[in-house]
């Protein structure tokens, strides 16, 4: 009964989505206020029904209702409760439902938090989101229905893929989807602005906090996926340039470009066309990712079980959504004004350079990801494009980007002086250069690439320091407390940039100084890695809730003192009988110790892989700092003020005021 309620709710949600897509958009076009006002209640109703469907599916998992095919295929009575909940999105159908739940959730949030927005604008935004939702609800109901019954019911479920039985499953997909799908809001705002012909600073101010939240979630989601792969796959790597990872990275790059370009459009009224295009691209790349992961056109570790009809369906959706919006763009964008004037050297220029580089980076990832497909489609053979390619081409794109980051954050809007910038930044550069040359010696060995990486990260930190110090000094000169007048937006920006610096430190040092040892260990054997002694104390059998495991005992000794015992495991899950390697990791601020069991070799010995990974946690720490920066910027008070003020003023005035304000002073 409960699954039927879920199924029925989904059908009702589709009906509401169709109304949401059609009525408010027509209302906005014809100026019919009643029709426009339907947007909010319908969107909220749709969310309610999708949430009900989601709750029903979750209920089916919790109660192990194996008369539902999807549950029978992805769960088992032995599966611990938290993974049964996670298993709801552990397969294609359920994760699509999560996707739509996120989409309707965002729409709901827009409908609630935008009380003061003009009726026609909000009608268009919600209408566009309704269009997207209609497409995906059709997709679920026609090709990927999670509520299909299995007659007769299975006695026992086939269990969740052991790779997914991990806390990572509970957090990573929801975070990632929040981000992916969150770009739909910026997209809808962009389309609404193109439809309504009002593309101004107010529009940018509205889109920006939404985009920042989505970007924040996407950043965290990607970082969590990377952590998960790091400890769960047992290879000690943290990024594999796998098509699925790339599918999440491309929208991130485009989204990062978007939040920067929105800043210019909001403060200076420039780059309007460009910002709109970026909003379309960011969401389109999210959709493209969905297509790549679920259609089976590319091979990947993380891909879902695939089915060509699903691929065709998503491709059609992609054509409608992206093709349609790019056609709209080609039609409407030429009429949009150019916005404020600025000089060749100005913050605007730096931000535009940032955008170009980020898009080149995204295009590079896209090229590398799709190239095997292109070659195959042209009948020119079959090739693989993997990590070695991306590391070769990605660094040259990112290096100037990071360098410009330091300069751009310091430059003035409208017109900056290059000599002035050089004077202010020369100390930062000198400090960064000297540290970058010296530090690798302290780490033990000097490599040019390490020095290069450190130069970039020290440069980031030094420019942030110079920037903040300058603000503090200026405040003190006029007798104000040093840190006054620093908006959350400003602090958020500096924090996010510092996160980039921390990230680079992690990547550089772990690539430069990681130590790997592949040894054959008898009981009592020791091996030394980077000053730590690892002693193998044998293995024992242990049992988990739904698996048995061979657990190794590896004593770590430093300077003669016992430090800890690492417990790497080889698990065998009862149902899917798939051997899983569970690495044991001791995490630290400056290093991780990582041990994983290989295979038993003759005479009770085991092959054991041990890694010493310096500063690896800075990689994810950096990502979380970036996300924190984004969150801080989003909570800036001007977005709250703006929402109060906007209601009374026609948007033309805000635009003019924005132009005036920036013409007159500096923002």
């Amino acid at each position: 009964m409960i699954p039927e309620i879920g199924h029925f709710s989904l059908i009702l949600a589709l009906a509401m989505a169709m109304v949401q897509a059609v009525v408010p958009l027509i209302g906005a076009a014809k100026g019919n206020e009643n029709w426009m006002r339907m947007a909010r209640p319908v969107a909220q109703g749709q969310f309610l029904f999708v949430a009900t469907a989601f709750a029903c599916l979750t209920y089916a998992f919790i109660t192990s209702d194996f008369s539902v095919l999807y549950v029978a295929e992805h769960s088992n009575t032995e599966l611990p409760l938290q993974y049964r909940v996670g298993a709801v999105w552990g397969g294609h159908e359920g994760s699509m439902l999560l996707w739509v739940l996120m989409l309707t959730g965002w729409t709901m949030a827009v409908s609630v938090l935008s009380r003061k927005l003009a009726d026609d604008l909000i009608a268009r935004v919600i209408g566009v989101l309704g269009l997207v939702s209609t497409g995906f609800l059709f997709f679920i109901l026609l090709t990927s229905n999670p509520f299909i019954r299995l007659m007769p019911a299975a006695l026992e479920g086939r269990d969740l893929n052991p790779l997914l039985q991990d806390p990572g499953l509970v957090f990573h997909p929801p975070m990632l989807y929040m981000g992916y799908v969150g770009f739909s809001v910026a997209f809808a705002f962009a389309i609404a602005a193109l439809l309504g012909g009002r593309l101004d600073a107010a529009w940018a101010r509205w889109s920006r906090p939404w985009t920042l939240v989505a970007w924040m979630f996407l950043t965290m989601g990607i970082a969590m996926g990377s952590i998960w792969a790091y400890y769960e796959l047992g290879w000690g790597g943290w990024w594999f340039w796998d098509p699925v990872e790339n599918a999440s990275f491309m929208p991130w790059l485009a989204g990062t470009a978007l939040i920067h370009s929105l800043a210019v459009t909001e403060k200076r009224g420039s780059f309007k066309n460009w910002t709109v295009l970026l909003a379309i691209i960011a969401f389109s790349l999210s959709l493209l990712g969905t297509f790549l992961v679920r259609s089976g056109v590319l091979t990947s570790v993380h891909a879902f079980a695939t089915d060509p009809t699903r691929g065709v369906f998503i491709l059609i959706l992609l054509v409608i959504v992206t093709g349609g919006s790019m056609a709209l763009y080609a039609w409407r964008a030429p009429k949009v004004g150019l916005g404020g004037r600025f000089a060749l050297v100005s913050r605007e220029s730096f931000l535009l350079a940032n955008n170009v580089l980020l898009l080149v980076a995204a295009a590079t990832v896209l090229l590398g990801t799709l190239y095997p497909l292109i070659i195959d489609a042209l009948g020119m053979g079959k090739i693989s494009v993997g990590p070695p390619y991306f590391s070769v081409v990605f660094v040259p794109v990112m290096t100037p980007l990071v360098f410009l980051m330091g300069v751009g954050a310091m430059a003035r809007w409208k017109e900056a002086s290059l000599p002035d910038l050089a004077v202010r930044l020369r100390w930062a550069f000198a400090v960064a250069l000297i540290s970058a040359v010296i530090v690798p010696f302290l780490m033990g060995e000097w490599y040019p690439l390490v020095s290069m990486g450190l130069l970039l990260s020290f440069w980031v930190f030094a420019t942030i320091f110079v920037g903040v110090r300058r603000r503090v000094r200026r405040n003190q000169e006029i007798g104000r407390p040093g840190f006054s007048g620093m908006t959350r937006s400003y602090v958020g920006m500096q924090l996010a940039h510092a996160g980039v610096g921390a990230f680079i430190v992690g990547v550089t040092l772990v690539n430069g100084y990681q130590v790997e040892k592949d040894v054959r260990m008898n009981v009592g054997d020791t091996t030394e890695v980077a000053g730590y002694t690892f002693r193998f104390d044998g293995v024992a059998q242990t049992k988990g809730p739904n698996y048995t495991a061979t657990q190794g005992y590896i004593q770590v000794i430093k300077d003669g003192a016992d430090l800890m015992v690492l417990h790497p495991q080889k698990r065998n899950y009862n149902v899917q009988t798939m051997p899983m390697t569970e690495a044991a990791i001791d995490t630290g601020l400056t290093r991780d110790l990582y041990a994983s069991l290989g295979e038993p070799v003759s005479g009770g010995a085991w092959s054991v892989r041990i890694y010493y990974k310096p500063f690896i946690d800075w990689i994810w720490g950096g990502c979380f700092i970036m996300a924190l920066g984004g969150g801080l910027a989003m909570s800036d008070r001007r977005y709250r003020l703006a929402s109060r003020r906007k209601a009374e003023k026609p948007s033309g005035a805000t635009h003019a005021a924005g132009a005036l304000a920036t013409e007159g002073g500096r923002a």
Binding site: L338, G381, S384, R520, A540, A653, A657
Partner: protein
């Protein structure tokens, strides 16, 4: 502590003999070959495991390839010769780093062309912008803007 002792005893029992502590032997005896192998197998695709490298995968296929690579290296074959051996059997598909040839030229040159193109467009756009006259505002717009700015002052200036 008791649990730990028990575990230890269990551990010894499982493994049978109590060996004398000694330095563990590396899986690949020759450190030079071990280093070369670690480097090379990262660049090889495990054909049966959807996107993992031979170094990372524990599949039969990868084990065979590793064994073969080690053997070839012990026979004194260079990295290039080993790659040639594998490509002859499995095709370019086994290489994660596609070889540079006519069909992969767009792949290798693409990012740099894009960057150059992006840079050129950027400079042209910026130069054009810098020459543009300031946008004129109508008197009504200016009035509206001033009212708004006054409101702003009242509510506290930010950024």
């Amino acid at each position: 502590m008791r649990r730990f002792l028990f575990v230890l005893i269990a551990a010894w029992a499982v493994c049978g003999t109590v060996a004398v502590a000694k330095e563990a032997a590396p899986m690949i005896r020759d450190p030079e070959i071990a280093g070369r192998m670690a480097h090379l197998t990262q660049k090889l695709r495990c054909l049966v495991c959807q996107g993992q490298s031979v170094a990372d995968s524990g599949s039969d296929f990868s084990n065979d390839i590793r064994r073969e690579v080690e053997k070839l290296m012990e026979e004194g074959k260079s990295d290039q010769e080993v790659i040639g051996f594998l490509v002859q059997r499995y095709g370019d598909f086994i290489l994660f780093e596609p070889p540079v040839k006519s069909t992969t030229a767009p792949l290798w040159i693409g990012p740099f062309v894009l960057m150059a193109l992006g840079g050129a467009v950027l400079v042209i756009v910026l130069a054009k912008r810098a020459k543009r006259p300031v946008e004129e505002l109508s008197p009504e717009q200016v009035a509206a803007a001033e009212r708004l700015l006054n409101d702003l002052e009242k509510e506290g200036k930010d950024s």
